[in-house]
């Protein structure tokens, strides 16, 4: 999506509510995905996924900084965190579908694939647990997304979700506690 369009949307939804937030995620999804693709293709094998750099790069590429306010910037990071979660989980789902065979005869898996699948299952479990957590307190889920999926710092998360730093620290702790408890990690 062209940069102007995302910028327009951020401006148009300054006053938006939670539902509007949900609906804006797809606008960021495809571009974030493309940027991830480029970033990963440049990496030498063995490197890790740096989502922090990813969402910051996306911000610079997708948003016209001369036209937005601080809040729009924060709003974008919150969106990107949610979109990042969706991208990772879409990936996890596609691999999980392969394991289950996707309707075709299951193929034997090698040890690398098995190691990947274990992590994939972990990601899917986190996703499912986050859906449950959002029923209890959606804010904890949002904080978790920013920290875990977008790799934002506590300060950046506080800004993105317009929360106090202390609240983010407590929410991050509570969110992790709930997930560990839920997932018996």
């Amino acid at each position: 999506m062209p940069r102007d369009e995302i910028t327009e949307f951020l401006i148009a939804h300054r006053e938006g509510d939670a539902e509007a937030f949900e609906q804006l995620v797809p606008l960021v999804y495809e571009d974030l995905r493309a940027i991830a693709h480029v970033q990963l293709s440049k990496l030498r094998p063995g490197k890790t996924l740096n989502t922090t750099a990813l969402v910051h790069e996306a911000y610079l590429k997708l948003v016209d900084q001369t036209r937005v306010e601080i809040n729009d910037r924060a709003h974008f990071f919150a969106l990107a965190a949610r979109a990042m979660r969706h991208i990772i989980i879409d990936y996890a789902r596609s691999r999980s579908a392969v394991k289950r065979g996707g309707g075709v005869i299951p193929v034997p898996l090698d040890s690398v694939q098995i190691a990947i699948l274990e992590q994939v299952d972990g990601l899917l479990a986190i996703d499912e647990a986050l859906d449950k957590l959002s029923q209890l307190n959606d804010r904890l889920t949002r904080v978790f997304e920013c920290r875990f999926f977008a790799g934002l710092t506590e300060e950046e998360t506080a800004e993105a979700l317009t929360l106090s730093l202390r609240t983010v620290q407590r929410d991050w702790m509570k969110g992790k506690a709930w997930l560990r408890h839920e997932l018996a990690l």
């Binding site: 949307f9 495809e30 693709h37 890790t48 620290q169 506690a177």
Partner: protein, 918 residues
């Protein structure tokens, strides 16, 4: 884990609150975790176990969760990159969805991606458009919307609507729709490219209207009509597409309850004002969008330039700027022939479709099409000419937003001027040259309107100034007509609060008419009455009275037809006496006025209700409270019979009566009247109208007074929301709305926030009414109650004393004084000064007892506090009955966990502790 799965949000909220406290202990090292946990969990062992397990899990930092995605293995990252490559959207050619092969992307948006595709099937080649649900979003809401679109398209079989061919779910589980692929171009580009004539453009547009009408008849609102969704094929056929944000209307759903659009259309330019403001959308919203499209087709420009604006800015722009008339818009581009064609009918048709208020537009797309056909046929169109009424509506509506604080006042003034002009025109037309009067009046508004060329905003007063100049220049030879119209203008100035100007005009007009007609003439009496009414508004009561007496004398001596005017003069006299504190004389005048109105066959009806209401105000001041109430009941009955139960004026009388009953402590009666009044206002004005604020404030206040905090919440929040959006911070209604919110917070444990809001209200109120007004006393009293709720007894006492000092000097609202007295008494009792407490509380009960019905909880609370004060003085016998009966009355109406009731229960228990009496 089972504990997590079965947990309710309430249970989790409780656990979270404990976790927050414990996590915050780092900040208060003096407290140790164990004892704090024990305190917070009470004896609940299971709870404590859960909390401790969670604390342990949260503080562990050895796991996967801490490291974000960096812990993912390099193998997985490589695999992830592979996934991104497989699914890269920039390379979709050849990808398959169901039985279709994708060719390219046609468009993208929040509601999905649309691809051009063809059937992979070898047998026949068919190009289709496939709409895929956007990735990254799998909310039930979007699934529902996709299914809705599918349903809508399936139901809407029409040759001019893109057909739904198929639908399904991709392998990854994303739903998709397969639609007829339309090879065409947007209607505006089509018209411009072929340089179609106005007539040809209109014919295409009529087809568009009929397609939209078809959708509406099938209970579908499109909600995103714009040229890019209306294609014209090579054969010149219209095709309507993209029902992605369309919705089904349900005739049983009231507009107020109708679902709101959430995602704004990307181009605000075609959205109706209600869509921009995110209010419920009706079929008339599509009519507005059609109006914008018509404007675009006729003029190649947009009625409003909204590029780069946020919805709030766009909304303001649409309200504040009147679109340039289409005929004027094309003039700039030297299409003088087109301009001539557009002038008149087509200007009016376009502007009627573009009315800001939905109910002023064409009620259906078909009516819009019909008016265009009428224009073709040379038959008069339905759209009212874009002169006085239309201009006037726009004028008022523009100023309604511009002057946010005075929104209601401006509206009311606008209506008044419109009414006066209409009356004047009607009356004068019968006798005099219709054309001349009409031109002068029309001139008033025409010159005031920016779209006759000038782009400048003109205020109401400036508009009146111009009208006045015109009168002087055009009607110098017509002194009688000039005097009539000067009277109209003078009243309009008065309506604008320009009393000095109004007074001067009425005064010179009175002299002019004395010369024209002699002293004893009804027209002289009319001017005298109007001058007096203006003087009353200026507070010049002494000067007003002789004028009214003179007018009354003229009207009564001419008799017969003038009785109506006589009753008006009597009403003014009554109001004047009321304002100067002579309530018994006020009541007498209102009674006389009422007698005339009741006797008159033409004047009866609603005018009687108005005087009954005025008389009620006077007799209330005379202390005849019951009579005041009964008069209002009578007024209400008459209003219901004459203007109807649903009329806004009837609602106003209901509100006045409700306020009476509220003050008398008749909460049941008051509540049902408030509710009925609010319901009517919401139905008539829409739920987002500033005029509904006061009703919502009053109802919220009543429910708070009843202690029905859960019932009060929605009205309190509604009033705050409306007032924050429609009126300024300093406006009294907004302060009242926010003070209710503070009270709600006070009673639901949010005392710190309540304190902040009360203090903000206090400072704004002081700006408004000065520091000595009785309402300031009330504010201190509210702050003191909040102090009590949070246990700050010393501060509470200080504030109650401050409240008392102010309220003692004011004669109004004894009821509030009593509240303060009880509050202060309860604080003194807590501070071990029951003797002093007793004095204050007895004084309060003297106020309450004649005012309140038995069973009122505040009266009961007063008795409980008196009982407590006596108990603390050792007078157990006297305390016993007061405490018991007071507690029983309070318990009947207040929740068991209510703060006040718990306090009362404490005293009753104390009574029992000290053993049976006697």
């Amino acid at each position: 884990m089972a504990t997590n799965q079965s947990m309710s949000p309430e249970q989790w909220a409780r656990i979270e609150a404990i976790l927050d406290r414990v996590l915050d202990l780092d900040l208060e090292p003096a407290l140790d975790r164990d004892s704090e946990l024990a305190r917070l969990c009470g004896g609940d062992k299971e709870l404590r176990q859960q909390v401790e397990a969670l604390l342990e899990a949260g503080e562990r930092s050895d796991g996967f969760l801490d490291a974000s995605l960096e812990r993912l293995s390099p193998e997985l990252i490589a695999d992830f990159e592979g996934f991104l490559t497989e699914e890269d959207n920039s390379d979709i050619a050849g990808r398959r969805i169901g039985a279709y092969r994708l060719i390219e992307i046609l468009g993208r948006g929040g509601m999905g991606v649309v691809y051009l595709a063809e059937r992979a099937d070898e047998h026949y080649q068919q190009r289709v458009a496939i709409k895929l649900m956007p990735r990254g979003l799998e909310t039930p809401e979007l699934h529902r919307r996709f299914l809705t679109e599918r349903q809508i398209l399936a139901d809407l079989e029409h040759p001019n609507i893109a057909k739904l061919l198929d639908g399904g779910v991709t392998e990854e589980g994303y739903p998709f729709l397969v639609m007829e692929y339309i090879e065409g171009e947007p209607i505006d580009e089509f018209c411009d490219r072929l340089d179609l004539s106005t007539r040809q453009r209109l014919e295409l547009f009529v087809t568009v209207c009929m397609v939209v009408q078809h959708a509406h008849q099938n209970m579908v609102i499109h909600r995103d009509l714009k040229p890019s969704n209306i294609l014209v094929t090579q054969n010149g056929e219209v095709r309507l597409l993209d029902f992605g944000v369309a919705k089904l209307t349900d005739p049983d759903v009231l507009p107020e309850q109708a679902e709101k659009t959430v995602l704004q259309p990307r181009t605000l330019g075609y959205a109706s004002p209600e869509q921009v403001a995110n209010r419920p959308v009706l079929t008339t919203s599509d009519v507005y969008s059609l109006g914008v499209i018509l404007y675009r087709l006729m003029t190649s420009t947009m009625p409003h330039d909204l590029t780069g604006l946020s919805p709030t800015e766009a909304e303001a722009r649409v309200h504040e700027h009147v679109p340039v008339l289409p005929s004027v818009a094309v003039e700039h581009r030297s299409r003088s022939r087109t301009s001539r064609i557009l002038r008149g009918d087509l200007d009016n048709i376009v502007l009627k479709a573009l009315e800001i208020e939905a109910e002023d537009r064409y009620s259906t797309a078909e009516h819009l099409a019909e008016d265009i056909r009428r224009h073709f046929a040379g038959v008069p169109i339905q759209a009212i000419s874009a002169s006085p009424v239309y201009r006037f509506n726009r004028f008022v509506s523009r100023h309604r937003v511009a002057v946010a604080a005075g929104a209601m006042a401006v509206l009311a003034v606008g209506m008044a001027i419109a009414g006066i002009v209409w009356q004047a025109r009607k009356a004068t037309l019968e006798a005099r040259r219709a054309q001349q009067v009409s031109e002068v009046i029309t001139g008033l508004f025409t010159d005031a309107d920016p779209y006759t060329g000038q782009d400048r905003e003109m205020g109401v007063v400036e508009m009146l100034d111009r009208g006045l100049e015109r009168l002087e220049s055009d009607l110098a030879e017509e002194p009688e007509l000039k005097a009539d119209l000067t009277d109209v203008l003078a009243r309009a100035y008065g309506g604008q609060g320009q009393f000095a100007k109004a007074e001067a005009l009425h005064r010179s007009n009175l002299e002019a008419r004395r010369i024209l007609y002699g002293d004893h003439d009804v027209r002289v009496a009319e001017s005298a009455t109007h001058l007096a009414a203006t003087l009353i508004n200026r507070g010049a009561y002494k000067a007003a009275e002789p004028l009214l007496i003179e007018a009354l004398d003229i009207f009564t001596s001419t008799g017969g037809e003038s009785s109506k005017e006589a009753s008006t003069v009597l009403m003014h006299l009554g109001n004047l006496k009321q304002l100067t504190g002579d309530y018994s004389q006020a009541a007498r005048y209102h009674e006389q006025s009422l007698a005339i109105r009741k006797a008159s066959p033409t004047e009866g009806g609603f005018a009687v209700a108005v005087e009954l209401s005025n008389l009620s105000t006077a007799v209330e001041q005379l202390g005849e409270v019951d009579r005041a109430t009964n008069l209002l009941w009578e007024a209400l009955e008459i209003a219901e019979q004459t203007v109807g139960e649903d009329h806004l004026s009837t609602a106003d009388i209901r509100t006045k009566l409700a306020v009476r009953l509220h003050a008398q402590g008749d909460y049941d009666g008051s509540e049902s009247l408030y509710r009925a009044a609010l319901e009517i206002q919401q139905r008539k004005l829409g739920s987002d109208h500033p005029h509904t604020i006061d009703a919502a404030v009053n109802l919220g206040k009543l429910l708070l007074d009843r202690g029905d905090y859960s019932g009060a919440r929605s009205f309190v929040e509604l009033a705050v929301d409306l007032s924050r959006r429609h009126i300024e911070e300093s406006h009294i209604s907004r302060i009242a709305a926010e003070m209710n919110l503070a009270t709600l917070w006070r009673e639901t444990g949010r005392n710190e926030e309540a304190e902040v809001l009360y203090l903000s209200g206090l400072s704004r109120l002081e700006q408004l009414v000065g520091p000595e007004d009785y309402s300031i006393g009330r504010m201190y009293s509210l702050l003191a109650m909040n102090d009590q709720a949070r246990g700050s007894i010393v501060s509470a006492r200080h504030r109650y004393e401050k409240a008392l000092a102010i309220q003692r000097t004011a004669s109004k609202r004894k009821f509030h004084l009593a509240e303060t007295l009880v509050g202060l008494g309860s604080v003194l009792c807590d501070q071990g000064q029951p003797e002093q407490a007793e004095i204050f509380i007895r004084e309060a009960l003297e106020i309450y007892e004649p005012l309140m019905p038995e069973g009122n909880w505040q009266l009961a609370e007063g008795r409980v506090e008196l009982g407590a004060a006596l108990l603390r003085q050792g007078q157990r016998d006297e305390a016993h009955d007061l405490l018991r009966s007071g507690y029983t009355s309070m318990a009947a109406v207040r929740d068991s966990d209510d703060r006040r009731l718990r306090r009362a229960a404490g005293f009753v228990a104390e009574l029992d502790d000290e053993g049976p009496r006697g």
